[in-house]
């Protein structure tokens, strides 16, 4: 049941712009209500989950999304901002029509505390929100090697201001300057993304800017290109990308623009005109606040995405600990299984015993070409895990480039519209 204390109710009305006009506290003593599901995070996983909860649950369920930002900038396609094919405003989504279309309560704040006993969240805006079921879809946080200024050494791995910062730095490069990026150890958000970025930037510098003397260096924490190895390997050769696998970043200096790393047992320091360090990643902080992590990620039951550590709390998207990739498309996919599972549970229906999810993505490799990668994941009852039942990849081609926007267009609409 949704229990809102009188202060937070008034605050909510103020939020709606009604507080100064009328304060109404209803006088009722009957005792029936409808379940309240609170979704923390309005990205691909969270926004999809809230939408499908309302689409399938209708007026028999109340759904609130708690999201820090009033505008979401999609990381998907954001590498195309770097080469000028898209802008961050092209990739921006707001929640106004989305929330009114589906009847979702939007609250723009963050969670300070999770009281699992009383099923209450305390928000940074001071309000308290009660939940019957809690869905956490907060994405990722970074594990930086040391304290440095990300406005000087951007990660650009959460899209928006960071993406534009990196673009400005790339555009300020002169011929002969070096662009160095680091790839985090798996698992991290969007497995093809860093390789895609190296290709897009190398193509942009060489073929658009005419910087034939510039160099792109990639320091990969992984032992090899972890997805689409053939595609990205061939593009690295074509562009002359200097690729160094099995490198561990140990220090980043934002003043000298240097990165120190270990390669084959020895420490090396590399200076670069532009330094794009994508740090190692872990579940976002609310996962730790809620105490539903085991190590860096949140273990869940793949039939429902309910935490194995706390009943009534569900984790979807990049923070969850299944072997499924961490990415927007499959976050959307997981969200539907979770929404159905919550509705089944609230109505006393058994969980669907053999859910499937899928992952698909198109990766730009230049301003005119893209490749693709896809997979279906099925529930394996013996191991109680999601396993890849079919994966495939498509080589980089100009034919794939426009298809990339069909894919992203429907994915964006299925999530935010």
């Amino acid at each position: 049941m949704k229990k809102v204390n009188s202060n937070s109710r008034r605050d909510f009305m103020k939020f709606l712009g009604l507080g100064s006009l009328a304060t109404v506290v209803p006088t009722v003593s009957s005792a029936e209500t409808i379940p309240h599901v609170v979704v923390v995070g309005g990205g691909f996983a969270g926004a999809t989950c809230a939408k499908y909860l309302k689409m399938w649950g209708g007026s028999s369920i109340d759904v609130t999304v708690i999201e820090a930002n009033s505008t979401y900038v999609s990381p998907i396609l954001s590498n195309l901002v770097l080469n000028g094919q898209k802008t961050t405003s092209d990739l921006s989504f707001t929640y106004g029509s989305y929330s009114s279309k589906y009847g979702i309560n939007m609250v723009h704040s963050t969670v300070n505390a999770v009281d699992k006993t009383n099923q209450t969240l305390t928000l940074a805006n001071g309000n308290t929100v009660n939940y019957d079921k809690l869905v956490l879809a907060p994405g990722i946080d970074f594990m930086k090697t040391n304290d440095y200024d990300i406005s000087k050494v951007p990660h650009a791995w959460k899209a928006g201001e960071q993406t534009n910062l990196l673009k400005a730095q790339i555009d300020a490069m002169n011929d002969g300057d070096t662009f160095t990026m680091t790839i985090p150890a798996a698992p991290y958000r969007c497995p093809p993304g860093p390789y895609e970025r190296a290709c897009v930037v190398a193509d942009y510098l060489k073929n658009t800017k005419g910087h034939t003397n510039s160099k792109v260096v990639v320091l990969d924490a992984n032992a090899k290109i972890i997805v689409e190895e053939e595609t990205f390997g061939a593009k690295f050769s074509e562009y002359g990308v200097e690729y160094k696998p099995s490198t561990t970043v140990t220090n980043v200096d934002d003043t000298s623009k240097t990165v120190t790393y270990i390669e084959a047992g020895s420490s090396k320091t590399l200076a670069s005109t532009v330094l794009n360090v994508i740090p190692n990643q872990k579940a976002a902080s609310v996962i730790f606040t809620a105490g539903v992590n085991s190590g860096n990620w949140a273990p869940i039951n793949p039939l429902s995405y309910e935490s194995v550590l706390a009943s009534g709390i569900y984790v979807i998207g990049d923070s969850q600990a299944t072997g499924q990739p961490k990415a927007g498309h499959i976050g959307n996919s997981e969200a539907k299984v979770c929404a159905d599972a919550i509705l089944r549970t609230l109505s006393g229906t058994a969980l669907y015993a053999s859910p499937k999810t899928n992952s698909a993505c198109y990766s730009p490799t230049s301003a005119t070409e893209a490749s693709w990668l896809t997979g279906v994941f099925k529930y394996d009852a013996d191991t109680q895990t999601m396993v890849a039942s079919n994966t495939a990849a498509g080589a980089s081609s100009t034919a794939n480039y426009p298809k990339m926007f069909n894919w992203s267009g429907n994915l964006f609409a299925d999530t935010f519209a």
Binding site: M1, K2, K3, V4, N5, S6, R9, M13, L18, S20, L21, A22, T23, V24, V25, P26, T27, V28, S29, S30, A31, E32, T33, I34, Y52, M55, W56, G57, G58, S60, H329, N332, S333, K336, L343, L346, S347, G348, T349, Y352, P355, K356, T357, N358, A360, W372, T374, G375, V376, N390, T391, A392, K403, N406, W407, G409, N410, L411, A413, D414
Partner: protein
């Protein structure tokens, strides 16, 4: 004090009405005092689980919510011959199709047939 959802929504709707009345009538503020409410119980949720819909919702990432595409990729709402189409399509579609059993494809196909066709 705990107020459950139905009350919350009622209060919200009521406040909207009063706010409008308040403006029209020149009154700047209206306050209704609180009284005690009892602890609420959750109403049983009305939900009809549908395996075909759950599986078929996984098509929406590429083909649109409820099978209605927003661009030139195929809308699949009202699709009548799903099994034939998905195995003889773009490689990315065929790769996906091989990840599903014949029974699952039948479930998805039966659900898609219930959706309004938006284009031929």
């Amino acid at each position: 004090m705990k107020v459950h959802n139905k009350l919350f929504l009622t209060g919200y709707s009521l406040s909207l009405c009063l706010a409008l009345v308040g403006c029209g009538g020149g009154s700047s503020s209206t306050t209704v005092e609180d009284t005690n409410t009892s602890i609420a119980t959750i109403l049983p949720l009305s939900y009809t689980a549908d395996a075909g819909r759950l599986l078929g919702s996984q098509c929406a990432q590429c083909h649109g919510t409820n099978g209605v595409s927003v661009n030139s990729w195929d809308s699949i709402a009202g699709e009548n011959d799903l099994a034939d189409e998905i195995f003889d399509d773009e490689p990315i579609m065929t790769a996906q199709a091989h990840g599903y059993t014949a029974e699952e494809i039948t479930l998805i196909g039966n659900w898609l047939k219930t959706l309004s066709k938006t284009e031929d």
